[in-house]
Amino acid sequence: MTIESPAAPDRAIDQLRELVVAADYPGATGHFLGLLKQGYQPERLMGAAINVTAPFVQAPSHIMLKADGSARGVNYDHTILAWRGSARLAHALPKQTSMLPLAQAMWYTPQGLDVWSQIHCEFPGHYARDQEKCGDREEHRVAKGNRFDQPAWRGPKVHFQDQRPILGGAVDERLHQMIEAVMEGDRVQSYGLFLGLAAEPEARERLKEAVLFAGIIDIQETVIQRGGYQNIGHKALRARALVDLADQLGWENAHDVFYTVVPDLGCTPRFYELWSMTTVMMPQEFKSGWSGLKQLNTSLLTEREIDELIDTVVWSAPGDVTALITRLLRGGRSLLSIADGIIIAYMRYVIDVLEHPAAFFTPGHSFDYCNVVNHWLRTYDNPHQAKALYFEALFVNDLIRANQLFPRDPAAEIEPPRRYKAHAESLSPDEILIALNAACTTQEPALAMALVDEYLVRTGERVNLIATLAQVGATIQNDPHIARLCMSSIEEYRCNSTSRKDDILRGWTKYLARAIRRSQDTGCFQLYKREFGIETSAP
């Protein structure tokens, strides 16, 4: 069954759709930018792109059984994360590059379709090209280039059909049934119920809360030696993308966002170990008061407690993390204060410990997951919210421990930033920002850290610093994680209640200046500069 979008016919938009489905990412981006220049609204183009991709971003499962009987993971759709991240990142950038994140999302989207087929080397895109290296296989080699780059030689597959809304019944009851259906993996039922509720404006705030809740509680206990049996927070990240994009596009125009996100919430595998653990533990610890902790607990973490939280999350075993969160809650510390402390713990790990460029990627997911949880804590009320503090802290701790399972490589050691301190001190604040942009772009972490440290100490100005880091992020292509990192960093920086919120900017800087990049190419940025006739300091 196909459910038609009510958009009016437009040849230019049709062309964009054709280029996207053909996986022609440079062509789609060029056309997209051309339409922006003609005055098309970004939301309309974004909506058109999401409309055309929605049927092609589902997976039958996120576990694939291989021929030898063993299982592997199947990547989650990232196109919707790219759109969400880029739309929000635009606000942090100067006017001349404010559309660049959207261009990056467009550049990425045609490369991220039908992941299942990409893994089978049956459709082009960045998973087939870069992750599976299909083009290197004997049977797929071509005389020139890589056929898994683009264009597509067939259409992407639809792995889950669109559905009709399920209407009628009390809102409370349907929300409950929707969560239950997600947890049981009944995608048709959960998606149908969601569509029915989404059509009722008075139910939307509760629906947003519920869909975030459904994503947040689906989080694995550990990724250590689990291969594909994990989701590294993607259910929550997708739920947040839905909430933001539906609000931005308007709920009446967001059907394709729903189609992109909601069925996948119930996709296999689903993980409720931490949810189960906290559901058993909290009544034991807090009796009937567990559900009222958000209202009851109002005090902030002390500096010493922040230190303890950092030390425990970064260096201790999961049992110690659980015990500390319980102790802080018993001590009356507010949920948001603890959540903010967990963010700082993650940042200290990035700043003080991470060295190898490949080691940033997975822990970065836990930061984005924490950002979703914290948004949920800040925006909505749910009696289960105290449980999410355990999810956050244990998730961050687990990904750190997963990295710790690999011996440290001395070849990846980063020189001490203090070597560049004198140089940083010799620059004016404006010069520091220019140098910081360059150091992050060319990935010189010690220099970048010295520069950001000096800037943070020298001045209280943060808007231009954030714009500088966002600008660096916006030039990095083929990777929606970067837009997400930028957006999470900006939001957490603005909301963090601790005295150490500048650590978020330090950690963001180090990530940009050190983490491995999917592509060193800046083709999208070059195209953007040509189309808009602009010059910037970045390459």
Binding site: R401, Q404, L405, F406, P407, D409, P410, A411
Partner: protein, 121 residues
């Protein structure tokens, strides 16, 4: 005895025990065969380690190996792990002479201290 004095006495007792343990490990490393050393170093791999806490002490083992073994013995370890391929690069790189030099240069013996400083974990 005051609480502070008792705490300081406890600290000194642990220091004495720790020095004995470090000497014991040093003796064992010196006496180990190449095969025994390989088996021991292998226990720090993700598949064999008892958990992250074990692997986290790998840097400390590397420091002690450079202090206990002859350069030629460390070079043999480097050869063994280098030929296992890129996945073992972090381990092989720990046994390069440059790493040994860096660790020697980083050794710090405070004025008046009985021994060079030791990082515990």
């Amino acid at each position: 005895m005051t609480d502070l004095m008792r705490a300081w006495k406890l600290r000194n007792a642990v220091v004495a025990s720790l020095e004995l343990v470090i000497d014991e490990v040093d003796e064992r490393l010196r006496g180990a065969s190449h095969v025994e050393l390989i088996e021991f170093v292998d226990s720090f791999s993700p598949a064999r380690a008892s958990g992250p806490e074990w692997v986290l002490t790998f840097d400390r083992l590397v420091e002690q190996l450079w202090g206990s073994l002859a350069a030629a013995d460390v070079a043999e370890l480097e050869r063994e792990y280098r030929q296992r391929g890129p996945i073992w690069a972090a381990v092989a790189n720990s046994f390069l002479p440059e790493r040994g030099n860096t660790l020697r240069e980083a050794r710090w013996r405070p004025h008046g201290a009985r021994r060079a400083a030791v990082v515990l974990r």
